[in-house]
Amino acid sequence: MARSLVVIGASAGGLSALESLLNELGKNFSLPIVVTKHLASGDEEGLHKVLSKTSPMEVSIACDKQPMERNHVYLAPGGYHLQIEDKDTLSLSVDEQVCHSRPSVDVLFQSAADVFGKKLLGVVLTGANRDGAEGIKAIKQAGGVTVVQNPETSEVPIMPKSAISTGCVDYILDLNDIAICLKDLEFKLEK
């Protein structure tokens, strides 16, 4: 059973941000990582291809009721919301779009907050949408840790800015500092 979890939300500009973040985290980062990046139905195959090549951890496109493993990155498929079902399991839905998106970051973050509470790290990266802001609030309210990419060094600052405007953000960091911060928190959370 995963004791703690990382959830990441990204939109426009997210591909290169994710590539470099996963790269910096390295293959020894042990927590499961669940990623919702906005994309259209079918486009997840391309994202998966690129990240599989560059990420030191194994990367999969999430399936419904798929068990989560350590050292593993899971990507939301286009056209589906990706959710945390319980401490071991992912699930999907085709509920209405949220913030014009399916998959939506808010949906992932809220479900993760319900299941992991304090044992959760939520990260919002670059994007041109306010999706993720509600999710950051939910994570904070459940006692989790919230990290947002520095809008000034984000390719598109809107999504980080919206998250920050909730007043629920613990760390605002450049991309390479996010990796350092996550590695640091990994130990604290797993204790």
Binding site: S41, G42, D64, K65, Q66, S91, S93, V94, D95, S111
Partner: protein, 276 residues
């Protein structure tokens, strides 16, 4: 005080589901938890209450509030030729099998507002099979079924539907199959003649005919693993010998007991065939 074994949220949800089951007979405890929680949270917001347990008196004493919740548990989000690659594979890999049958029975379990069933009728028509086909399209949501029977959809969705149709290997124009109204389109009655829309609840109702082809896409995701297994068994038992079962692109039979009684027809598109 000792550390509680479950969170208040889990505890209150359990009480709510028990209350609802006792009073109305609905077993939402077997639905997938994360999607269920989204609905519960939405109804808390709509009713302006703070705790999950506050919904208990509301649902017990206000039947219309509970009816709204039940309706909300049915997610009718769908499109024509959803996941075009799937329909393409049906055309290329499954139609040749269907062509060997004198009569073909197709079941759409969880058809929502009907677009998937009309897509199938169009595909079968183009392959010259529609006249020897009977399509059954079922759902447990009567309102969605009433909509499905009309075959009327918003004009603004047609661009997506046309694009899906083309990607699915369609060679004509989708608009050939419908009449344009002011801001809606209506699919030809000729298609609907081959489709029977009926109420069927996958959780409480039984086996359905001897089907050559069953589609149950994006319905299982709303069930927990136990209920998925039960429903997959029901679908399996409704297949004729060598019948074909299709599930949603990101759904799984891998964790169910019918997994080893099916062979793979198209792994990527989740199309399976009953073993001999």
């Amino acid at each position: 005080m000792t550390e509680p074994r479950e969170t208040d949220q889990d505890f209150e949800l359990k009480l709510l589901l028990t209350a609802v089951e006792e009073k109305y007979g609905y077993e939402f405890g077997s639905y997938a938890r994360a999607s269920l929680m989204r609905r519960v949270r939405r109804h808390m917001q709509m009713s302006g209450v703070e705790h999950i347990s506050d919904l208990i008196p509301l649902f017990l004493h206000d039947e219309s509030a509970f009816a709204a919740f039940v309706k909300d548990m049915s997610v009718v989000v769908t499109e024509m030729f959803r996941n075009p690659d799937f329909f393409k594979s049906l055309r290329e890999n499954i139609v040749p099998i269907l062509k060997t049958y004198p009569f073909i029975k197709v079941w759409h379990a969880g058809c929502a507002s009907g677009q998937e069933a009309y897509s199938m009728a169009i595909l079968l028509d183009e392959e010259g099979l529609l006249d020897r086909c009977q399509i059954y399209a079922t759902d447990f949501n009567d309102q969605a079924l009433r909509h499905a029977k009309t075959g009327i959809y918003p004009e603004e969705d047609m661009a997506l539907y046309e694009e899906n149709y083309r990607q699915a290997g369609g060679t004509k124009e989708l608009s050939k199959y419908c009449h344009r109204g002011y801001d809606s389109v209506k699919f030809n009655g000729r298609l609907a003649e081959h489709i029977t829309f009926a109420n069927h609840n996958l959780v409480t109702d039984g086996v359905f005919g001897e089907m050559n082809l069953i589609l149950c896409r994006n319905v299982l995701i709303y069930f927990n693993q136990d209920l998925q297994n039960r429903v997959l068994q029901l679908l399996f038992d409704s297949l004729c010998s060598r019948g074909i079962l299709c599930i949603g692109k990101r759904e799984n039979i891998q964790f169910s007991s019918i997994g080893d009684q099916l062979e793979v027809a198209d792994r990527n598109q989740k199309i399976y065939r009953k073993k001999i």
